[in-house]
């Protein structure tokens, strides 16, 4: 087994969060489609969205979006702005920024 390092972890997380977001889009489109069917379906879908399970999923979704977005910016900097000269600081910055925004956002989502 090759030793795991920061760059490899970020790459895997980027892929996983990307796949997660695609799955979300499908669920989302399905939800929007159902809502438009009529008042009964509308209430059903909204009730489902308010269950604790969906709240937790929502927080996971938020984490995936934030990581994918911030890490995406990191990759752009690496490729097109000489960011590859400073891999370690950029890696840390990605995790710190993602962490702070996630915690702040998750607090609002939960309360």
């Amino acid at each position: 087994m090759y030793k795991w390092r920061g760059g490899m972890l970020s790459w895997i997380l980027h892929r996983l969060s990307g796949v997660g977001l695609v799955i979300f889009i499908i669920i989302h489109i399905e939800g929007m489609y159902s809502i438009a069917k009529g008042p009964k379906e509308f209430n059903q879908v909204i009730a489902m969205y308010n269950t604790p399970l969906f709240k937790v999923l929502e927080i996971f979704l938020f984490a995936a979006i934030m990581f994918h977005a911030v890490n995406g910016l990191r990759v752009i900097l690496l490729d097109f702005a000489s960011g590859s000269r400073y891999p370690k600081p950029l890696l840390w910055a990605t995790y710190i920024v993602t962490g702070i925004v996630f915690l702040a956002g998750a607090y609002f989502l939960w309360t």
Binding site: K3, L78, S82, G83, S84, P87
Partner: protein, 231 residues
Amino acid sequence: MQVTFKIQRYNPETDSQPHWEDYQLDVEPKDRILDALLDIKRTIDGTLTFRYSCAHGVCGSDAMMINGINRLACQTLVQDLKADTIKVAPIKGMDVLKDLVTDFDPFFEHLEEVKPYLINDELPPSRERHQSIEERERFDDTTKCIMCGICTTACPSFWTNGEYIGPAAFVNAHRFIFDSRDEGAQERLEVLNDKDGVWRCHTIFNCTDACPREINVTQAIAELKNAITFT
């Protein structure tokens, strides 16, 4: 100090699968892994097979995966590893020919694809082709490559796709593309823009982390990506 060497062995004539074998060895902390391998070969098992030549980090023959990271056996000291079990395996992504010896043929084919030699149809002036200090500086980092294969075989993109041209070839393309005396940039960039070219680099940094010559491989690849995009 006593160290256990776990070495991946494979003999194509008798084995269907590689397997691990343990060797106990008394070593000095400042011994190199290459010394230990030679010691095992001389005193325990003469059939242990590996490549080396210069033994001083110049020829690039003895790249292997030592405790989970690609390194040159001749440049790695026992004390660097801070472990009493040392695992030695062949580099990943190449066919293993025997024990720690891998097949480098596809590696050198990829290297040839990027034309790692001076392209310039004009005859040189009566003396050498001149270059300013700044022009020479532009590609200094990538002149240090010894083609040991450590970067390419540390790259997950290469493990999953042997057609990937790979970081080592990119480094050597960079060395000529940014050389003011060279005129082959365009034809090389076309090769690099291929589906198995630079765009399969996902900035994982395994190559840069492992390079024994401390070349910033990822930065060199980024410069190639920029050259393709903006010229």
